[in-house]
């Protein structure tokens, strides 16, 4: 069932499939480096993964990170990035980059964003003048940034939106995809991923996936989810989306990064994920562990001389105690460094565990063990139970 497709700047090969769920382990080869999927991609919004050096990321074998086009397009801007030889060179990261289109952030960060057929109209944060981000412009900026995977500009609606707007956005997304593909200046070393929209409407989503599949692209993103909708609807839309996307191309579920969500969505057939949560929460003093979260700012850690996680193996856990981290968490840059390193390692460890168990065809057991550690009293979230049951995993 696995297949290799060499498509311009990306090749993808499924190495093993879970015989119970829709999970699979694959090898994704991009211009800068290979990527083992399912993969979690940490987010380095402004051309830096906050407090971490690229070398530290490489050391923990992180293979791909994100940059945000909206931010980078503003500062330092696409012209400067081109002059610098691209974002990879600018930030000294030699492995893979993925950029989003800039559309989502625009809509969520800018008050006066208005969406027209032409593009996203917004008020410039510099001087208040009206500007327009078109599909062509988004691709042009992303061509300058130089990421290995770039995203189409999509017409994003909030996941809780209902009514005709959702369908309008779905069709427009398809039309914008075609404009993006046409405008793409670097198909030989950058792959455009379309984004499946359709809100929480099964028919629209299915239609969208079918349309996008007709285009000559190397992978797909699933968008418009993970934005505050009911989790029971979230998982159904994710599963529906993967059901209608080709098996031999990667599926990127945008904005998902909570541990439970990652595990479940791998079971539902997703291959790539991104989320600011692990790195952001680190800067606020919260560490991720198999049993949940440790808010290291809490007084209860002042005399806890254990590492964050005895089994982690990151440089923070091999040397620092929770007690010491408590003294600096949330207010010293070194704390941001130390906890970010751990949280990224945690995410990478989790994905490694997922991949290993799929390879060994013991993924259902992995899921069970993972959920038991997180919910020792078996108070599993309802939506997760349902979602896993839909792919033949029954939680005990």
């Amino acid at each position: 069932m696995s297949a290799t497709r060499k498509a311009h700047a990306l090749s993808f090969k499924v190495l093993a499939e879970c015989s119970t769920t829709k999970a699979r382990v694959s090898k994704l080869i991009l211009p800068h480096h290979e990527v083992d999927t399912p993969v979690f991609m940490p987010v380095g919004t402004q051309g830096t993964l906050k407090a971490m050096l690229p070398d530290q990321l490489e050391e923990m074998d992180c293979q791909i990170i994100l940059g945000n086009t909206y931010h980078l397009g503003h500062r330092p801007g696409p012209e400067l990035l081109e002059k610098a030889g691209g974002l990879h060179k600018f930030m000294n990261w030699n492995r893979n980059l993925l950029t989003d289109s800039g559309g989502f952030q625009m809509v969520s960060l800018l008050k006066l964003a208005e969406i027209t057929e032409e593009g996203v109209k917004f008020e410039s944060p510099h001087d208040g003048s009206t500007m327009m981000l078109t599909p062509e412009k988004s691709i042009e900026i992303q061509n300058s940034i130089g990421a290995d995977i770039i995203m189409q500009l999509d017409d994003v609606v909030h996941s809780t939106t209902t009514g005709p707007r959702v369908e309008e956005a779905m069709w427009r997304t398809i039309r914008w995809l075609d404009r993006c593909l046409k405008a793409h200046g670097r198909p030989h070393d950058q792959s455009i991923f379309p984004i499946v929209q359709g809100g929480l409407d099964a028919e629209l989503r299915k239609k969208c996936a079918q349309e996008l599949t007709k285009r000559d692209v190397s992978g797909f993103a699933i968008g418009g989810l993970s934005g505050g909708e009911e989790k029971s609807q979230f998982w159904r839309m994710v599963s529906l989306s993967t059901d209608h996307l080709p098996l031999d191309k990667p599926r990127y579920l945008m904005g998902v990064g909570f541990a439970v969500d990652l595990v479940v969505c791998c079971a539902l057939g997703c291959d790539m994920f991104d989320c600011v949560y692990p790195t952001r929460t680190a800067r606020f003093g919260t560490a991720l562990v198999p049993t949940g979260l440790l808010n290291l700012k809490l007084e209860k850690f002042s005399r806890d001389f254990r590492p964050i996680d005895e089994n982690c193996g990151c440089s923070t856990c091999s040397q620092y105690t929770r007690s010491y981290l408590h003294t600096i968490a949330g207010h010293k840059p070194v704390a941001a460094q130390l906890i970010t390193v751990h949280n990224v390692k945690y995410q990478l460890n989790l994905m490694r565990g997922i991949r290993k168990s799929i390879m060994e065809n013991t993924f259902p057991k992995f899921v069970q063990d993972f959920m038991s550690a997180l919910f020792p009293s078996k108070d599993y979230p309802e939506w997760a139970v349902e979602a896993l049951a839909s792919v033949n995993v029954t939680l005990r």
């Binding site: 993964l49 500062r75 010491y324 010293k332 840059p333 070194v334």
Partner: protein, 402 residues
């Protein structure tokens, strides 16, 4: 510890020396003049243990840790039971527990005959001798500064200066008494603190009295209250007092002058007989988004004339728009990790966006530059070439932007 002078100057009180028999790190040596690694809240600013080990191999062997942090977390440290070095993952370095945080100023008026105050994140902590020694027992320092009253400056009255000298001696005696009775502090070296403001008589009195006590080195304080205001401090105002003070101190013990001294001031202080300095100055510059670039390599052909014709600058401000598209490293030829891998343009971007990585990369460069400066300073002192060296460094300080 043992300190031996290896070279002296014919024209100043400068000396090059070496510290050995360093207790816990007995196989190591420290060549002076030297600086110590600034470690606020137990860690070097922006640099974790791994980053220090990987990118700052030449970093100083001794870390100076202001005691306020330990005071705030005394109970945790006591429960931990293995000392601050291990707690803060600094045990590969000698831990020097100092009193005030020399990167921060401290307010006046919070010391009295019973104790002195330090500040931490939670606010003021007043330490009396008993609590202070108990605190040091939790810290387990390799070196420590005893309780002292350094709350004086150029404007302090004679009466106030006398109080500072007397109290500091009294605190020292009480600390020594408790220190001698302490098992835990057996292998910790206690320093003596010399007070007296700008008053040469009080300074000499303080120095002579302190010498009579069994201290292993001297700390000169009480000229100012630390903090970034020290940038405006004119070391020439205290040169005479410094010289007169060090003149009555024994040669075979080190002298430490904490504070955010600029490199030019450091050289002058070395010429007044000082051996050790802290590294808060590169930290100050890092916080501002600046990178040190002043030249300090004394090449054989360097004369007074070509020093003055040298157009090199002192530091650059990475916030400046002119670096927006400058793809050269911070300092051409610098071998630090930052200069080998990043450009001014990238640092400018990090400054504009307020990103944390700015601090990491600048601290690596600034520490590297500062520590390299000290290497050359040591060499110049050993080779009796301090004057030329001083002129080179001062030349660029004159041209530095205010």
């Amino acid at each position: 510890m043992k300190f031996a002078v290896q070279a002296t100057s014919s024209t100043s009180s400068a000396r090059a020396g070496v510290l050995t028999e360093l207790g816990r790190l007995a196989d190591r040596e420290i060549h002076t003049p030297a600086c110590l690694l600034y470690s606020t809240s137990g860690s070097a600013p922006y640099l974790t243990h791994s980053l220090l080990a990987q990118y700052m191999k030449g970093a100083p062997l001794v870390a100076h840790l202001p005691v306020g942090f330990a005071a705030e977390h005394q109970e945790s440290l006591e429960a931990f039971g293995k000392g601050m070095g291990k707690y803060a993952v600094m045990e590969n370095r000698l831990i020097f527990s100092t009193f005030h945080d020399s990167a921060e100023g401290f307010p006046t008026g919070f010391n009295d005959k019973n104790g002195a105050s330090v500040w931490s994140r939670g606010g003021k902590i007043k330490l009396d001798v008993e609590r202070f020694i108990k605190l040091q027992e939790a810290i387990r320092p390799d070196w420590y500064q005893p309780l002292c009253d350094s709350d004086t400056d150029r404007n302090s009255s004679k009466k106030r200066l006398q109080k500072a000298v007397d109290r500091t001696l009294h605190f020292l005696d009480s600390c020594i008494e408790k220190h001698s009775a302490s098992q835990v502090l057996k292998s910790s070296a206690i320093f003596g603190v010399i007070e007296g403001g700008y008053d040469v008589n009080e300074r000499i009195r303080s120095a002579k009295q302190t010498c009579l006590r069994p201290v292993e080195g001297f700390i000169l304080e009480g000229f100012h209250r630390f903090g970034p205001e020290m940038e405006q401090f004119q070391i020439m105002d205290i040169e005479a007092v410094l010289k007169d003070t060090t003149a009555v101190l024994p040669d075979h013990k080190v002298r430490y002058l904490p504070g955010m001294w600029s490199p030019g001031a450091i050289i002058k202080a070395v010429q007044c007989g000082i051996d050790l300095f802290d590294s808060t100055y590169p930290y100050l510059l890092t916080e501002r988004g600046c990178a040190l670039v002043f030249p300090f390599k004394v090449s054989p052909g360097l004369t007074d004339e070509n020093i003055w014709n040298n157009e090199a600058s002192y530091h650059i401000d990475l916030n400046d728009k002119r670096y927006f598209d400058d793809f050269t490293p911070l300092l051409k030829g610098c071998e630090c990790y930052t200069c080998q891998n990043y450009t001014k343009a990238y640092l400018n971007h990090l400054c504009n966006t307020g990103e944390l990585l700015r601090g990491v990369l600048l601290m690596i460069h600034n520490f590297h530059h500062f520590f390299s400066f000290f290497e050359t300073l040591r060499k110049s002192t050993e080779e009796n070439k301090l004057e030329t060296f001083r002129k080179l460094v001062e030349r660029t300080e004159v041209t530095k932007p205010s």
